[in-house]
Amino acid sequence: MAKLESTVGLKFNKTIIYIVCIGLALLSILPFWIMFVNATRSTAEIQSGLSLLPSTHLSENWDVLRGKGFDAFRGFLNSFIISASSTALSVYFSSLTAYAIVVYNWKWRQAFFTFILCVMLIPTQASAIGFYKFMYQLHLNNSFLPLILPAIAAPAMVFFMRQYLLSTLSLEIVEASRIDGSGEFATFNKIILPLMTPALATQAIFAFVASWNNLFMPLILLTEKSKYTLPIMVSLLRGDIYKVEFGSIYMGLALTALPLFVIYFLLSRYIIAGVALGGVKE
């Protein structure tokens, strides 16, 4: 009898759990659903009420958006150049730095690692003003370099790569390649880097998305219209020129979000696994 009651209780609990989870899932989907649907509706339709079904004004909204100088392709290209280069740099050099910490026994190794742990917590804004002024003096504002080169020093990623190397790399591989006459740098590039592929892939996804989504630094440094990244162009969608063109605002938002949705649904399994890994680092 008691057992039956507890099964009933369990069923009841499970119903509540599913209702809550489905509600939360809808809460995640709904804003984006409305965004994509409204990108296909005319401003008049949007003003007249909510609809969850697409309409037929996609190309009109696109034309209005283009007419206001929203160059989505340019923004996409700029964002891609910055994100891809900074991701490549940070993944490669973080692995190299982590390798230096794990494999070689040098005097300042422990101090260097402690230092990396400390600077992991420094907020970007703490150095933004000095960074801007410094870049301005070098005439590097409106250049992509200040958004790409700093990626070489990514403390959090070095930390992650170190944990990965510690748990997977056997020093015998390094010894063996030394005996075979391989130089240290060649050993890293040809043997160690391929072994690190899973970690490289995970970190590359997160570095790419973080750079793609970054607003603060590009907003400060890039003032020329032709250099704008997608987040800056999104920030302009709020301006007065769009005030009555809701359809084209949703269109612009949908365009900037679309690549991320594609990446996410292709790689969601790895992304979720990567988030979980990031938390377990101790």
Binding site: K14, P31, I34, Q47, A100, I152, A153, L260, G279
Partner: protein
């Protein structure tokens, strides 16, 4: 046996970490120090002028902390927005973690739920800020029409003009973007707990709640510390959402003005007060440092501290005994 050859490999440690060190010094350390110095000067305006250290070097800091209500509001706003999104975020994440890791409940479709609940985290924050600002538009935004058709409100609400709703929505967006992330991290943490602990609890007849509070939560302490610190440092930097959610940024009546929005506004809008912005950055930097250090201290492994205490007591006893002889 002597190792063959006398090649000393340790120099490669320096060589391989050199790119990191050089880039860090140039692009992170120097700008940070430069920012600190600017905080003591009279640097302002778009056109570069000779810059001087102020007669009272701490003038900017003093003015910000004592004579600038907007800056103080921005500090308290940052804290309010962080705490009102973090508490529900960690609570919901813990609840979902408890459900998803409970074998007796055996919740189906976890993979799909994780993918959907984490989704907002990956989408550009700027896009989300403008999207929500459009969704909450007055008088005929989707949220207004939805609430009206549900009968929750009689007339359209000016969500973005009211201090409380504006703040509430910003906190909600942060919460909505991050609870999935926190949940996945906590679930991974629970998976990492030694299963023997749960078995022992089950054998001892612990209930589900008891197991959660006595076994799961204490084992999650390190992970919770990690979540707390990353969320705090992230919260201090909260910029994209409050900057773009409402025009002018930080409105209405500075209700959503965070420290980062303040810094940006000081340096790159209006009077271009680089010195004030730099001083504000340094204050933020110090707060971040103090909070992180405090957190590490509070949540350090207690058992380790206890062992050390015991050792000290033993030593004392031994000394006393030695003296007694």
């Amino acid at each position: 046996m002597r190792r063959k050859g006398t090649i000393n490999y340790s120099k490669y440690g320096y060589i391989f970490s050199m790119p990191f060190i050089v880039v860090f010094l140039v692009f992170a350390l120097y700008p940070t120090l430069y920012t600190a110095v600017i905080g003591f000067t009279d640097m302002k305006g778009v056109i570069p002028k000779p810059v001087h250290i102020l007669d009272n070097p701490f003038q900017n800091f003093k003015e910000l902390l004592f004579d600038n209500p907007t800056f103080r509001t921005s500090l308290s706003n940052t804290f309010i927005l962080w705490i009102t999104n973090f508490i529900p975020q960690i609570a919901l994440a813990l609840l979902l973690t408890a459900w998803f890791t409970n074998r007796r409940l055996n919740v189906k479709g976890q993979g799909m739920f994780k993918v959907l609940l984490y989704m907002p985290n990956i989408i550009t924050a700027s896009t989300i800020a403008v999207l929500f600002s459009t969704l909450f538009a007055y008088p005929m935004g989707p949220v207004n029409s939805l609430f009206q058709s549900l009968g929750w409100i009689d007339a359209p609400v000016q969500f973005l003009q009211d201090k409380n709703t504006a703040r509430g929505i910003v906190a909600f967006i942060q919460f909505w973007m991050w609870y999935g992330n926190t949940m996945i991290i906590l679930i991974a943490g629970v998976m990492g707990i030694n299963p023997a602990l749960f078995e022992a609890a089950a054998i001892d007849g612990a209930s589900g709640l008891q197991t959660f509070f006595r076994v799961t939560l204490p084992s999650l302490r390190t992970i919770m510390l990690f979540t707390l610190i990353t969320s705090m440092v992230g919260g201090l930097q909260m910029f994209d959402i409050p900057q773009l959610f409402i025009t002018p940024a930080g409105g209405p009546d500075n209700a959503t003005m965070t420290t980062s929005v303040f810094i940006y506004g000081q340096a790159f809008k209006g009077a271009y007060m680089y010195n004030k912005a730099a001083a504000a950055s340094m204050i933020m930097f110090v707060i971040a440092g103090v909070l992180a250090a405090l957190m590490f201290y509070l949540m350090r492994d207690r058992s380790e501290a206890q062992i050390r205490k015991k050792l000290r007591a033993q030593k004392k006893a031994a000394k006393a005994a030695a003296r007694g002889v």
